[in-house]
Amino acid sequence: MGDKKTKTVLGSSEVDITKVCRDIRGVEDIVLWAVENDWMENRFQQFDTRIFPFTDQADVSEWDSHLLDRYTPLYCNTVETCTDCPLGPCNLSSGKGVCGLEFEGYQARLSLRKACRGCSTQMVHSRELLDYAIKVFGREKEVSWGAHHDASDLSHIGLFTCIPMGGQNLADLDRALAYAEAQLVKLSSASFTGTDAIELEGMVFHAGSMLMIGKDVIELIKMSLFGLTNASDHEVSEMIDWPEVNVVGGLGNVEPGKPVITFMGDTFLLAYLVANQLKEKGLTEKVEVCGIGPAGDDLARFYERVRPLAPMTKARKILRYGISDVLVGGSSCMNLDILEDTKRVGTRVIWVSRDKNIGLPDRTDSFVDDIVKDLVAGAPGAWIRLPEKAAEVALKVLQQVKRKGDYRLSEEKAKAEAKKCREDCDLCFSNCPNSLLLSKAVQQVAKEGIKALAEVEKGCFGCGACVKICPENIPLLDLIVASMEKRAPGDKFKLRPGRGPLPRVETSSWAFSSMWGNTPGICHLLGCGDAKHEEDLGWIAYELTARNFITFVAGCAAGEVARHFNEKTKKYIFDEFGAEANLRNLINTGDCAACVHILDQAMKWPRTGAGASHYGNFAETADIYGNLVSPPLLVWGALPDRMYPIVAAWARGGCPVVVGPESAFDWHRFLPGNKWDWKRWWYYDSWTRKKRPVEPAPKHMIIPVETREEAVTAVTIMCQRPVAIRDFRLIGLETYVEFSLAAFGEWPDDWPLFVRSSWELPVRYKAKMLRELADKHGWEVERLNLKRAKHPDGRLVDMETMQNEFSCMGGVYPTRVPRMFPDPEIRNYKTSYEIGVKEKKS
């Protein structure tokens, strides 16, 4: 340790960081920085505070295990036989494997593998951009979260590594990313050797957290060094309409006759280089630049002429539609056989990822003119691992290539193909992951023509499963793509580009208004575009935002939401709602990586509301955040593996997650909570250190649902928290009942579980609720008031006892982690429920 400084003074206290850190060697500087710049004196006085720089999963298990205890993993799509080691195979359905592995442990291993797979697709991309940035700008190049961010603004980098916010440079990012990569290696290893299901599921959470570090890193680089929008560099007063809704997307907005270059997947750097060349050469009006998946969302943040087309999951359909002359493709969240599609339509592919090829010749060392000549002459594509060279080739090919038309099926051909369809088959329907009624539609095509496929086409994401199974070898995907021609001219939407991060100065302004009421809640929206009904995400965003939710969206979901058009107001959704982080606003943070801003800003709560620093302090941050706010995440379309660790990161922060529709049911593991089992629902009252029963809130941690109506209803009730105050609870319960009645024609069965007092009942339903509580649930009612309540343990108790014994009314400070108990000798106040009113301790 040598003579490195390990002590500092906060207020009147001396803090010795060797006492709060298990092993301070090598991290003295960053821990001292965090203590001096963000930690508060009282946390060291009153709590058993510990700091975990470069956190291991085991350091956070005190929190992970509580989550997994309340929300017991439910394994689906299980696999019985383990073949992970040479001792096997072992069938685990009848007992332990040779190595001691049990059935649940094996399912947890599979869950962790899925999380690691998803996480690594992001890490590869983050690493590629970071290495490039270091090469071009040097390790000392500063990066910044923006002018309004300060030490107290949370990032997953700070949360898990303790590396300071502010004054960061690329070397710091390298240190953070190297840590996350090393953790990922450990987790991948454990996914083949671990045996304890709960420990392995904790690692799934950890994979999610590491993924978020990868996203923080890449976002910082893009904003700091490549000029992507950053709201933290703008005034809060601008945010109501910033960035402007100035990007138009969809096939209908691509001008015919112009050369089209499309960027797909995680190809931000190439998009940046090409867009800049277009600007420099004055070509922006002469070519159409399109984006599929994250590339489209990224482009929107610095090149307003981009045309985002579709989410990653629908890439094959778009490519086969044949709109692109040149495709710049790279690794992404999906593995797609894109060459099969691009070859049919003559699109030239420039593949740029360094981590893998897709069967193209490696032309990295060829001369630019040679590559261009070959591609223009008809070569299907080239793998070029030098970004600048790839950009130059892409632009030159774009200006020279001429493709033949007529690559879509004609009406006659489509009818002829459709006539081959067997009357009594339906294999395409049975094998379609979205259960689209393709067979019936194909039979209609034979009579009515391609338009009969219109509905199916909207729900199809182009996986090709139907093509493989069809016994008549009907080119079903070609039929579907041909039917897009009718819809394409009207396929238009308007997008507000992503804004990047949300500084605390902005979120603080609504933090308390949301807690004090006026809104049923906050909702985070993500989704990969594979949902069966394309309009679902727009509908969901509209329903929630119009009801005063604060709605955040990012990634491919933003483009799907942007399609929502209100026929009454004649406005697209982003024109209809404001964009500041406030009630009844719809906030787009950016591409898939930019979803991290949503979670980062949300997890600031413990710092804003409780003064707890986040640096190296995940468990306490999650405990406070999870108990107080932790808005739900709704994932609509969950096909790519990357979504699995994203969801884990949210859930680990205590944010309940609703996933759907079809693709979510393919997942291995959910985290449901049993609302009827009251003994599972408790907190410690940190003053008395005793357990208190509470309502089941949030009901679930990760739960799949089938329909959009189920989704909004579940999200609404999962906003409720035992510490929430009257107005928030009242509006939430009212909205929950309303959604239920509208969609299902009945009251939700569990609303009584959320009742604690008569003044928290929504006025609109109060009389009916009181009657029901009295008639069906054994409560005692006097006029419009509750007189005696049914405690979950079955006792009929007066309302004062209910308040004193149940839930978190009257200033109870809840925690799930015993280490978070404040020291009773030091606290100054007794809480109101102990003594009726707040009074100074003598």
Partner: protein, 155 residues
């Protein structure tokens, strides 16, 4: 488990005293020349006097079709409750011994039935679900309709 003929499944369904029917999103989407899958769901529920956990948006339609013991539920919640030591879900007083899944796409049916511990499962779809204890076999939509008709007749 191998696929069962409708008559075999009917015998199985009739033999269970504590069965719960779950009706999923496809009930509202599949139509067989004027008769919807929800109609079949209602017929099965009525014939066997089954309580119905109406998942997705199926509750309203089932009530309109005169099914009495029906309540809106979430499919994954039921799968979760059934594994617990104590059954407290008010849709039935006793823990069901058999869960009957109707109106779930194969992907959803596989996910749900594979998660059930503590009860047997029946999948009444047009695709054989190997994860279920009992399942109808692979069928075209026409054959599927015939399967449902035969099943209802045999109940």
């Amino acid at each position: 488990m191998s696929a069962k003929r409708p008559s075999e499944l009917a015998t199985c369904l009739k033999s269970k005293k504590r069965a719960l029917l779950l009706t999923g999103a496809l009930c509202n989407e599949l139509n067989f020349d004027g008769k919807s899958l929800l109609d079949y769901a209602a017929e099965i529920a009525k014939k066997l006097k089954l309580p119905v956990a109406a998942t997705a948006n199926t509750a309203k339609g089932l009530k309109e079709r005169g099914v009495e013991k029906v309540a809106k539920k979430y499919a994954a919640e039921i799968v979760d409750f059934i594994r617990g030591p104590e059954w407290k879900e008010p849709i039935t007083t006793e823990k069901p011994e058999l869960l009957i899944f109707l109106g779930y796409s194969p992907k959803v049916a596989r996910g749900l039935t594979s998660g059930v511990k503590g009860a047997e499962t029946v999948a009444l779809g047009n695709v054989y679900i190997k994860e279920a204890n009992y399942s109808l076999g692979d069928a075209s939509l026409k054959q599927y309709q015939q399967n449902l008709e035969q099943l209802i007749k045999a109940l």
